[in-house]
Symmetry: C2
Subunit: 214 residues, 2 copies
Amino acid sequence: MDKKKNISMAVIKRLPKYYRYLGQLMKNDVDRISSKELSEKIGFTASQIRQDLNCFGDFGQQGYGYNVSELHNQIGNILGLTKPYKTVVVGAGNIGQAISNYTRFEKTGFNLDAIFDINPKLIGIRIRDIEIKDIDYLPNYLKENHIEIGIICVPANSAQKVCDILVKSGVKGIWNFAPVDLVIPDDVKVENVHLSDSLLTLTCLLNDGDIDNE
Amino acid sequence: MDKKKNISMAVIKRLPKYYRYLGQLMKNDVDRISSKELSEKIGFTASQIRQDLNCFGDFGQQGYGYNVSELHNQIGNILGLTKPYKTVVVGAGNIGQAISNYTRFEKTGFNLDAIFDINPKLIGIRIRDIEIKDIDYLPNYLKENHIEIGIICVPANSAQKVCDILVKSGVKGIWNFAPVDLVIPDDVKVENVHLSDSLLTLTCLLNDGDIDNE
């Protein structure tokens, strides 16, 4: 795993896609695949694929290609899917409820431990079997339950405040759906899902026929 | 606008963030800003900012900086926000309902015209004041109402089928929440929100302290 160090964000961002495609190949009982075949499926060039996967060790074999399940496993390891994660959702509005209801994540090892909101009308309601708790209990809950990932689904103007509580209580990973960029210390990682930015990217593409692809 | 041609996807992806920050500055009554100040707020380098904005024309003035509202307007134009867009949501599950309920998009000019689902239990239910329609009516609805953007919120295994209907019925922009990569013709644009990929990016970051930032 020594080669894992100093990989670029660009490579990191491509790994989940590899993982998804390899999982699909496994479902279809494909045992091995060449970088050329993988390239045709996934849309990266074969040389890009070889280069990406080389960052993490010597997976491929000349003339044989990649062992699909082995590569899937290894990428799963790099993605940190060797253990389950304890998560909480903060903000039980539209997006918070959708994420809380989305059982797909649990299958990959993400366990939703609790949901928090500030709205008295929502507190006490259950999403699946998880009761929405008063946000006042958030700091203690985080510490007592060793929560690793906080999912921020509150409005923009309270996102940083919620983030600060998460960070102060030892949460190291933040999945942020609020349309703001959070200020966090170096040892905390954040991944943003900025829906409005994504939608504006689409309209930009719609209004310009001459975009160079990356 | 001649300079708009041949801009890279990397620049396009940064534009919504500029737009968001400039909108915030306008709210705070900031009239002008230097690339250095903007850099401190937005987190791109000042030279990156000058380079990005240069792609679209000569916005900044030496010693004066950028006129905030002018730049906000210009970027809005480039993002295609000069007119409203007619959209439909296909798939009224968790994510589809969340997106349908999210009124923030309407403020930017995205009007949700209709919601479609295949599930008889959902058909007829209203989200805000919009009734969920039977997906059988989708092709005709799209053509009769000149829908420009289709928002795909169906499960992975039916996403391509829905995409094909959208494309065949003249939809040119697809905002895809299904965890698959869609096959589309060149004149159709797709923007993906792959939630699982995003979550796996976070765990990858959590498990590796030595990521090089882009």
